[in-house]
Symmetry: C2
Subunit: 463 residues, 2 copies
């Protein structure tokens, strides 16, 4: 929070005292908790501690994260402030702000920063926590990460997390500089740097990226969104010159080819509408496709205006998600690869019922437990989507808004379809709907199981 | 086809010669195939023969089933005629007819009959063929059927199929008489008898069941739709007085309670709108809920006019389906029970990773292979729904029509949402869309795997 003060100072927006108060409350609460923690009793954390720490950590961060909004009065309503903060920490990017540009810069910086911090949290969650908890096959996705053993927390995992953080920081700085030198103001550049690498999607402009007409700026953002949706381990390999290892990774290959293919298709559709030049058609197509697949959620053009086909396509894309081990949310490509492979192999198993036919990924056999776990993950994902849509509709929103808002929140994307489309915001939803979507953002971000397990008796029962 | 002739004779609609021609072509083709089949070589059918026989059987029935439409000129266009016929044999009930009441009664009877024959086909498919092919866990659902061993085709299966056919026939006759004595014309009564028990949903009236204002008629149809969506084995037990066995069946209990609960919810919503009396509100609610869950597809009221909540709810209901072992299509309730149980248990497995925690159904442990198979079934179902919706939208239809038409075709229901809603028809869709939906009806009806397996190399490769 203190990093927002320079912006408040330069702009002289009178928020300095408010931000200091927010920071003091947060810091003091932390200090009280720290002093009262019984450190001496046990340093050993078990799996159950892990689930609780992750969920409560995200929730308490979001609770304290509302303070700058509430105290400065930028977002006076608690429901809205909590929605905006969790949309930040979960890197979703859905917003209740109706006029972003009217908000003080120091607060906008805080808004962008919540996403960046959320992204850092996801990196450590992916490499260090989820594999141990065995959530949704995450032990598999990071198996190639340098220095990671999926069995238990090792000292080297701390090293790995640090290394990936450096990459995250380095890419953020690089993008910021690239955007700045391409014509953005420094403030816009740093904010978009922070929210791109987190695949967050908060912008400092009401029109999101459509506010920047420079093609160069849009290409830079496309490139960094794509990077942010790549497994950070791949970025690590890339920086160490191990390009062959990157190109051999099946998830990366599929991610690259799928994004290219869908971008081209959408580009052709836009060009066919005849309102844009060929270059702009394919740029807009690529921008929106990459933005949705990586669950960033920036908007360079209203994608719901490009024929019903594109609307349906983008709605389905909300269920894709980018690579595991990136900051992207959603189902993630590796799970789709494994499930589609398994489904095809299930047909083979029908023909040869006595043969044991395992799923393979990156040249290795994937254990049946992991496939089972991923299948359950997807089932719960879809079940929550269905129940969430019904609940949203029960609060009076229309069909497309209901399914769109739930899909985009659960997938940590940002814009949806219907009245929460790319050029709309979430301000008009009923309070109950906002709370539901907030919960779905948290659920999606923490890979469902981490949160849901707290609602089962198995978790609370003494062994 | 010959059974249509009495109606042609009574109405003197001039179709007798045309129907005779259609019947002669069908009969002659059958005779030629029969004479040319090399019966002597092998009487043993293997699994692969099973897949081919089922798919080609359904397709060739539908191909010849178009003849009465085409020759009489009731539906002159082949695409439309094939759509209508497969919507019959697959018991879907989607229609391209814009004015049903203008069609000759003999042809309407043929239309209803295709659904009833389709329903008979499904019964034998469920009890005798699919369990042996091991499709989508069907071996499990009929495990309780009298005289069935899921391992191989036994003489007793023929007996079982016959017994269930008698029940099917008996219920059809009973419903016809009930409807007739309640004020329907004999023609309407027999047609609705045929299409209720098949969970088909073809009506002889443009307004479907809304054409009959008598509450008694609507209650009778609700009751028989519910019966048609019940596992026929349960009906068998019920007729033999073994009510305890029926009430102990977990799928039946869930089916009953779920239908009651959702009917009540929708009834309250309708009553809350203030346009209908309490009795009519709950009757309409129950009618449409039972009609969609059982995948019948009759319409007593435009359900998309009852708030967006009900629209979303009915859209989700299209993915439920009624009981396995009934004539209903869709995913089916037993699969949902097993998957939801498995998903909850997966959370338990997270807490106790070394414990083996099987899913139980009707007091018995369900093998992991079956759960695996069902999970793959659902994955493929959803994947096909997503790809189908994209393909429909690609042909220019809007979002709600795209997702609605695909969901209703794949689930063998009939009406969808959007421009193929309960008071619309499928005539205005582009030809490509009609063919796609026709394929989806077949796919859904034959439990996906049976059809899809023919598209894999595993099927065609020599062992």
């Amino acid at each position: 929070m203190l990093t927002c003060i320079p912006f408040s100072f330069i702009e002289n927006d009178g928020n300095i005292k408010d931000i200091l108060l927010a920071a003091w409350i947060t810091g003091a609460s932390g200090a009280i908790l720290l002093l009262n923690s019984r450190r001496g009793i046990s340093n050993e954390l078990n799996k159950r501690d892990g689930y609780l720490i992750v969920v409560l950590g995200w929730l308490s961060m979001s609770l304290f994260g509302t303070l700058p909004y509430l105290i400065t009065g930028a977002i006076p309503n608690f429901t809205d402030a909590f929605f905006e903060t969790l949309a930040g920490y979960s890197t979703t990017g859905a917003s209740i702000l109706t006029d972003i540009e009217a908000v003080d810069k120091s607060i906008l910086f805080w808004r962008s920063l919540t996403q960046w911090i959320g992204g850092m949290g996801i990196i450590v969650l992916t490499v260090a926590v989820l594999p141990i908890l065995g959530v949704g096959g995450m032990q598999l996705f990071v198996a190639e990460a340098p220095g990671i053993s999926p069995d238990k927390l090792q000292p080297r995992i701390k090293e790995t997390a640090k290394r990936l953080w450096y990459i995250y920081l380095g890419l953020t700085v690089t993008e910021t500089l690239a955007l700045w030198t391409s014509g953005m103001t420094f403030f816009d550049a740093i904010n978009h740097g922070l929210t791109t690498m987190a695949t967050g999607g908060f912008s400092t402009h009401n029109d999101s990226i459509a506010a920047f007409s420079s093609p160069l700026i849009q290409y830079i953002i496309i490139f960094f969104m794509f990077l942010a949706g790549t497994n950070f381990t791949m970025a690590y390999f890339g920086l160490h010159g191990q390009f062959l290892k990157v190109l051999k990774n099946e998830e990366f290959r599929f991610y690259l080819l799928f994004t290219l293919l869908v971008s081209l298709v959408v580009g052709f559709v836009i060009y066919g509408l005849g309102n844009e030049t060929m270059e702009k058609s394919f740029r807009d197509g690529a921008f929106q496709v990459v933005s949705i697949i990586t669950t960033t959620g920036y908007v360079s053009h209203d994608y719901t205006a490009w024929t019903p086909f594109v609307t349906v396509l983008f709605f389905i894309l909300m269920f894709v998600g980018a690579s595991a081990g990136s900051t992207a949310g959603g189902v993630k490509i590796v799970r789709h690869i494994l499930l589609i492979r398994n489904s095809i192999l299930e047909l083979k198993r029908q023909v040869h019922p006595s043969a044991i036919i395992p799923v393979r990924f990156n040249g290795k056999t994937v254990s049946q437990e992991i496939i089972y776990n991923i299948l359950a993950f997807i089932m719960i994902y879809i079940l929550i989507f269905a129940l969430g849509s019904i609940a949203m509709a029960m609060m009076g929103v229309d069909f497309m808004t209901a399914v769109g808002s739930v899909a985009t929140s659960l997938g940590n994307i940002g814009p949806g379809i219907g009245s929460v489309g790319p050029v709309d915001n979430f301000a008009h939803l009923p309070d109950g709907g906002k709370w539901l979507l907030t919960f779905l953002m948290l659920l999606g971000r923490l890979e469902l199981f981490t949160v849901l397990i707290l609602f089962t008796p198995y978790f609370w029962r003494k062994n």
